[in-house]
């Protein structure tokens, strides 16, 4: 389980290679998800996005989420990288990836990790629109997305 919370950007291909090299045995599948900064929010033009987090708890929660995924699926490894600080339009925010012998475990567990990250990892986004920063409100859909996992 690799978890990184960092300000700097990442090269997804390199990180996925590291995940592959860290696996207990050669994975037959790695699925990955990358989240980017959109250029709009509620039909308004976004200039930048600033992400705050609770250092310490963030890493702890991301490890807990990774462990939960590994209990639910036969995974060979997981990777979560989440950035904080000021980001620009199109920047990478998050990379989540799962490695397994077969594709289904990798597909499903990546979605599981993202669904839990969205509701349990202590990050807060602030959007810059027309030179003003506003905190992003949580979405009910994100809470509801957890229900499909029946935990």
């Amino acid at each position: 389980m690799i978890v990184k919370v960092q300000e700097k950007d990442f090269i997804a291909e390199d990180e996925i290679q590291k995940l592959k090299n860290n696996c207990m045995e050669t994975p037959g599948a790695i699925n990955s998800f990358i989240g980017y900064v959109r250029n709009f929010s509620n039909n308004k033009k976004l200039t930048s996005l600033t992400i705050e987090h609770y250092a310490g708890m963030t890493e702890k929660m991301l490890l807990e989420i990774s462990a939960k995924a590994s209990q639910k699926w036969p995974l060979l490894g997981t990777l979560i990288i989440h950035r904080y600080g000021k980001l620009n339009i199109g920047d990478q925010i998050v990379l989540a990836a799962s490695a397994s012998l077969h594709r289904n475990a990798a597909f499903e567990s990546t979605q599981f990790i993202m669904d839990y990250l969205k509701t349990q990892a202590p990050f807060w986004k602030s959007e810059e629109i027309n030179n003003q920063n506003k905190w992003v409100l949580s979405r009910k859909e994100d809470e509801q997305a957890l229900k499909k996992w029946g935990d």
């Binding site: 310490g56 990892a121 202590p122």
Partner: protein
């Protein structure tokens, strides 16, 4: 005990964190909120809608009834919005 604030709570209260000595009558998170809001208008304003606030004790999600101790780290923040 150490109390941390994040996101708009931090802005409304005007503090990232504060250290307090646990008053004897403060046993739960709920008691702590009562103690803080009785002392300061900014806290009172920030904690006016408890439905929009989450709490953690020692970096684990908690709730109003969670018991707290002198050495605990308690954090208040809005629902998370990462990813």
């Amino acid at each position: 005990m150490r109390i941390l604030y994040f996101s708009w709570l931090k802005e409304k209260i005007g503090l990232n964190s504060q250290e307090i000595i646990k008053p004897k009558n403060v046993e739960t998170v709920d008691d702590l909120i009562t103690f803080l809001t009785e002392k300061s208008e900014k806290h009172k304003n920030a904690f006016s809608d408890l439905n929009s606030i989450k709490v953690s004790v020692n970096q684990e999600f908690a709730d109003l009834k969670t018991k707290i101790n002198e050495k605990d780290e308690i954090a208040f923040f809005p629902p998370v919005t990462g990813g």
